[in-house]
């Protein structure tokens, strides 16, 4: 299937969870539920702050070591933006259910795979942030992530945003970066073979996507024009998604 170029999201899709979000972009579809602050089990009860519990569930097959790794990465990142100190001894639980992943038509998918799939990180990351916002969990800032690949193209090297599985296969290096809305680098994961210079360029691209300065209406159209060039504008996307949610919630105001 062809991957959508623009991210789509819906909030509050799970009526019985405190907060929830469904997010799909670049062929990935993820649904997240957030419950909390709720009572923590004794074993992960922390006297001074809330324990953030992240669970990643693959669409097919049972989760394995790879999911545990993704979870630990997300957990350490989300703990940074959630105001955990506000809810001592409690638990904030984020469950991420992968629904759809882009298929690589050139390989038959194996069910159990230990190898890390970087490209899915942004989807997981965005979905959890959206779900947290929809649950109204107090946060220090919002954040957004993106995946970038350096792909060799007739001699030269090309930076590709939201690479397809096929592109990742031939890429020299794959990178995932996440920034807070205060433009701090929150997460950086890279693998492959690259130089500091290349990483710099990647950084630039990612930063442009994650924290483009809040743009006015006409500015926004301009953004849309250069979509293919710079990739989507995550910050604006986040804001507009929340805008609709909040105005709907407060329709009576």
């Amino acid at each position: 299937m062809t991957a959508s170029t623009l991210p789509e999201a819906a909030l509050g899709v799970l009526p019985r969870a405190d907060g929830s979000a469904k997010y799909s972009h670049a062929g990935y579809t993820v649904t997240a539920s957030v419950n909390g602050p709720i009572e923590a089990q004794r074993r992960d009860e922390h006297p001074y702050e809330a324990h953030v519990d992240v669970i990643v569930r693959p669409a097919a097959g049972v989760g394995g070591t790879r999911e545990r790794h993704l979870e630990s990465i997300l957990q350490s990142s989300l703990t940074q933006i959630i105001l955990v100190k506000n809810f001592p001894r409690s638990l904030i639980q984020v469950v991420l259910q992968v629904e759809d992943t882009p298929e690589n038509d050139y390989v038959n998918t194996k069910l159990v795979q230990a190898s890390l799939n970087f490209a899915i990180m942004p989807a997981l990351f965005q979905t959890s942030v959206l779900a947290l916002l929809s649950a109204g969990v107090p946060m220090r800032a919002t954040a957004a992530a993106t995946a970038v690949a350096v792909v060799p193209e007739d001699g030269a090297k090309k930076i590709v945003v939201d690479p397809s599985p096929r592109q990742i296969e031939i890429a020299q290096s794959v990178h995932v970066l996440a920034f807070t809305s205060q433009e701090e680098l929150l997460l950086a994961e890279s693998e492959g073979d690259f130089t500091v210079k290349e990483w710099d360029d990647v950084y630039e691209t990612a930063q442009k996507i994650c924290c483009r300065p809040a743009s006015t209406k006409e500015g926004m159209e301009m953004v849309l024009d250069e979509e293919d060039a710079g990739g989507p504008d995550m910050r604006h996307f986040l804001r507009s998604t929340l805008e609709s949610k909040v105005t709907a919630d407060l329709h009576w105001k």
């Binding site: 009526p15 405190d18 907060g19 419950n35 909390g36 602050p37 709720i38 009572e39 933006i81 105001l83 506000n86 809810f87 001592p88 001894r89 409690s90 916002l133 649950a135 109204g136 969990v137 107090p138 946060m139 220090r140 800032a141 919002t142 807070t180 809305s181 205060q182 986040l238 804001r239 929340l242 805008e243 949610k245 909040v246 105005t247 709907a248 919630d249 407060l250 329709h251 009576w252 105001k253």
Partner: protein, 259 residues
């Protein structure tokens, strides 16, 4: 309108222009009061912690973020509907929201309660109570009698009837002094006008208790249907985010179905 109540996301920078500086100098400077959804970072930053609309009331010199959520965090003097989960030597342990620590309710904090006369509440009973103590380091405490007056003021065990879950935002609207004007909720009035006899109690923890009017004959039959209609009216108004006009339509429809 957006200019008055701008959308804020966690960590956004609030332009100083929006931060009220005490309106009239002749009245002595009162401190800036921050409501929910905001935090103060020394020295002078005020930062939103949730996504919502930033409300500022210059003459009260206060500001907060208006938002809707579904997980209740207890705050003193909130009215809540609690479910008794068990009884200890001196306390009842009551749940305010699922999966959270129980609140404690002293056996004697009921109107005119003594060791002998105190109400015996089996697990699963409902009480209408007020939050007396709530801070993040301790489990909340609630009471069913005003410690000041010693009167119940409508607090206490809730007999019969049914509880319906609603969003915290909607509960707040229902509890507003002028819920019709400020909160834009008319359902209850409308249902009353339709001649339905019922009583309600709204808990800030996203619960509303509805019971058929306890008329002398206690004609149960009528009540059950009535209660269901009231409950559905409330829930649909909440979830479908109905405006006053739609509420009117809804009520008409439901009442028709009922009769």
């Amino acid at each position: 309108m957006a200019t008055e109540r701008p959308l804020v996301l966690p960590g956004d920078v609030i332009p100083p222009s929006l931060i009220p500086t005490s309106a009239n100098p002749n009245k002595k400077q009162q401190p800036l009061r921050l409501g929910p959804g905001l935090r103060h970072i020394p020295p002078s930053d005020i930062v939103p912690t949730v996504a919502g609309q930033l409300i500022t009331v210059p003459h009260k010199n206060s500001m907060w973020v208006e938002y809707n959520s579904s997980r209740y965090t207890p705050t003193p003097s909130d009215l809540v509907i609690a479910t008794i989960s068990r009884s200890g030597p001196d306390f009842y342990y009551a749940s305010l929201s699922p999966y959270t620590a129980n609140a404690t309710l002293p056996h004697l904090s009921f109107e005119g309660a003594t060791k002998k006369t105190r109400p015996q509440l089996p697990p699963g009973s409902l009480v209408y109570a007020r939050v007396t103590l709530a801070n993040k380091h301790m489990d909340p405490e609630i009471e069913c009698v005003s410690s000041a007056t010693g009167k119940a003021d409508g607090l206490g065990p809730l007999k019969d009837g049914m509880v319906f879950d609603i969003s915290l935002g909607f509960a707040r609207r229902l509890l507003m002094a002028r819920s019709k004007e400020e909160g834009k909720v008319e359902v209850l009035e409308l249902l009353g006008e339709e001649g339905l006899a019922f009583e309600t109690a709204v808990g800030r923890n996203g619960k509303v208790w509805v019971s058929g009017a306890s008329d002398a004959k206690g004609n149960e039959g009528v009540n059950a249907k009535t209660v269901v209609v009231v409950g559905r009216a409330l829930q649909e108004t909440d979830t479908k985010r109905l405006g006053v006009e739609q509420q009117r339509k809804l009520v008409k429809k439901l009442v028709r179905e009922m009769r």
